[in-house]
């Protein structure tokens, strides 16, 4: 019998503290699978950031450096420049990478830092209880804009992949969704390319995962969370690959 699926052995035997239907758990698993398949566990260092996944180190047995809120890509720059032969990734929420850490994100990508970014867009500041994020959808209710996001009060969401792909640096940029098994398989393939782009020395790998924060959306089940991604989030944030490194471009 062939084993098609198993829990990566360096996901620690700790219960996830995420809400049911939360996307962070799925991204954790994909991360472990990709690192396992690439055989780079002994050379990989994760930079964990502030947000609901702040304790990712408690679930995944890798080396970790904990960053301040928004600064993960500056940490990654320091760690990678000091150790060009190591594999460095950041794990960041949308608030972390595109609100308080926008400058660090744009500049690290503009410099073409050879690191991998796992950017989990759940359209909320999840950890602090559902405030507006730079990615909150038009009309979406948050604790700070309870009537829903309107452009006249706080502007429209930032499409991060589109923004970053205008920069002239070498790398891989993709947006994937975590709503269906097919999409999750695509997400894993994208994440693998994002690591391969770093490992080949070509550039950065940036993957935006469209996830969901069912607790703050006040959804009733994980199924509703997955449906919400397909019906709302991926309508505003189109899926796809926005930039490929030279080695992945068709000739």
């Amino acid at each position: 019998m062939t084993e098609l699926y198993k829990r990566p052995d360096f996901i620690l035997d700790e219960p996830f503290t995420y809400c049911p239907g939360c996307s962070h758990g799925i991204v954790h698993r994909l991360l472990c699978e990709v690192i396992d398949e690439l055989g780079i566990r002994g050379d990989t260092v994760g930079i964990c950031s502030i947000g609901c996944a702040v304790r990712i180190w408690n679930f995944i047995e890798l080396d970790f450096i904990q960053a301040t809120h928004g600064r993960a890509l500056a940490f990654a720059t320091g760690a990678k420049r000091a150790n060009p032969d190591k594999c460095i990734f950041t794990y960041q929420g949308d608030g972390d990478a595109m609100s308080i850490g926008t400058a660090e994100t744009i500049h690290a990508i503009a410099r073409g830092e050879k690191v991998t970014v796992l950017f989990v867009n759940n359209t909320y500041f999840g950890a602090t209880g559902g405030q507006l994020a730079p990615t909150t959808l038009p009309g979406q209710k948050t604790t700070t804009y309870p009537e829903g996001r309107t452009a006249d009060r706080i502007g429209n969401p930032i499409r991060t992949c589109e923004l970053l792909s205008t920069l002239d640096s070498e790398g891989y940029i993709a947006r994937v969704a975590l709503d269906t098994p097919a999409h999750i398989r695509q997400a894993k393939a994208a994440l693998k390319k994002a690591f391969q782009t770093q490992l080949s020395g070509e550039g950065y790998g940036f993957v935006e995962f469209l996830g969901c924060c069912p607790s703050n959306l006040k959804l009733n089940s994980p199924v509703e969370a997955w449906e919400w991604i397909g019906n709302h989030s991926s309508k505003y944030f189109p899926l796809g690959e926005f930039k490929l490194p030279r080695s992945m471009q068709e000739v």
Binding site: W57, D63, G78, A82
Partner: protein, 355 residues
């Protein structure tokens, strides 16, 4: 005889840092210390190190944090407004218990201020400019030679105690050209092994450089551990210089550039028959409370001289503990108290009586 060389203060810091094994420098330009940034930009890549001009001081100190967490000697430098921006990260580095060196070539403040020399970041450096109960090791050079010596010492102490160390200089010391003993540029200590470095899981063992404890109890334990470490640092690493202090009846207290003015004033006052001496704190954190407390038993008064509105004054008073009067001379925003001003002030305080 050892060789002497003419050097600028900021360059002496850079050269001493590289010789001490500093592999990574990240920073953002700001006067009056951009020469240090430029020196590192020119030298580090040639000598096997890393230089990145960061997009901000927030990013610069965070890059330092990331590089230091992989076990390599790393530093940044800036001047007052830039150092203010770094405060959250500095507190975080202290709580992560990482060795890092930060240089502040202080300028006149508050606000943007001007690039006049000043010492008005004393409180920020010594009393915890960022959140929480943490301390830095703060070293205050008074000459170009000391800029070099204290830089290697800062790397050594940071590693020894796993804590951030700061060189707190002023624009005078930073910009001045002075002849120094070349030997001062060389480190006096070996860099220790860093088995805690986060560079990947090895032999089934992982490494974590974390700042946020997992439980409430662990945060209390972290605080207790930090405080015990700071007590040990105070016991072992408090440094100061005494100048003509032994038989003095009046003691001046000054660090950095004002201590040089004070020495000149002391020589002139001594010629006039005043028994004046100087205590010059070299570490202002930990502070030499004890030596000042001892002298306070014998002297008539202390005169604290600073290029700020009297930030160290509180520490001098704490040390003296009411045993004799403590006076203040100085001011912020770039105000200077040259030797003749000190001489006149001491004479006035003595009411014309030689003692």
């Amino acid at each position: 005889m050892s060789k002497r060389t003419l050097m600028k203060g900021t360059v002496a810091i850079g050269e001493a840092a590289i010789r001490a094994g500093c592999r990574n420098y990240f920073g953002y330009p700001i006067t009056p210390q951009s020469e240090l940034l430029e020196y590192m930009a020119e030298q580090l890549p040639k000598r096997g190190g890393v230089f990145v001009q960061s997009e901000s001081e927030l990013a610069g100190i965070s890059m330092v944090h990331g590089a230091a967490a992989t076990g390599q000697r790393s530093m940044t430098s800036s001047s007052s407004p830039g150092i203010s921006l770094m405060q959250e990260e500095i507190s975080t580095i202290a709580s992560a218990e990482l060795p890092v060196v930060i240089v502040n070539v202080t300028r006149g403040s508050p606000g943007l201020g001007r690039i006049t020399p000043a010492q008005s970041d004393y409180n920020q450096a010594c009393k915890g400019g960022g959140q929480g109960d943490y301390k830095l090791i703060v070293l205050t050079p008074a000459s170009v030679q000391e800029m070099a010596e204290l830089t290697s010492l800062a790397f050594h102490l940071a590693d020894k105690y796993m804590t951030p160390a700061m060189i707190l200089g002023d624009a005078f010391a930073g910009q001045m050209m002075e002849s120094i003993d070349e030997e001062a540029l060389n480190p006096k200590f070996e860099e220790p092994e860093k088995p805690w470095a986060a560079t990947g899981v090895k032999d089934g063992k992982r490494h974590m450089v974390l700042t946020a404890p997992f439980t409430d109890a662990e945060l209390i334990t972290l605080n207790e551990r930090l405080q015990a470490k700071y007590r040990l640092i105070a016991e072992n690493e408090t440094r100061w210089e005494e100048y003509r202090a032994e038989d003095a009846d009046i003691l001046l207290v000054a660090f950095g550039t004002p201590s040089r003015f004070a020495k000149a004033a002391i020589n002139s006052l001594r010629d006039d028959g005043y028994r004046v001496g100087l205590i010059r704190p070299i570490t202002v954190c930990p502070y030499p409370y004890q030596v000042i407390n001892e002298y306070a038993k014998h002297v008539s008064f202390f005169l604290d001289i600073e290029m700020n509105e009297g930030q160290m004054l509180e520490d001098v008073r704490l040390a003296v503990n009411g045993q004799c009067p403590v006076h203040f001379l100085g001011g912020g925003g770039g105000k200077l108290t040259p030797p003749d001003v000190i001489v006149a002030h001491v004479k006035e305080l003595c009411g014309g009586d030689k003692i």
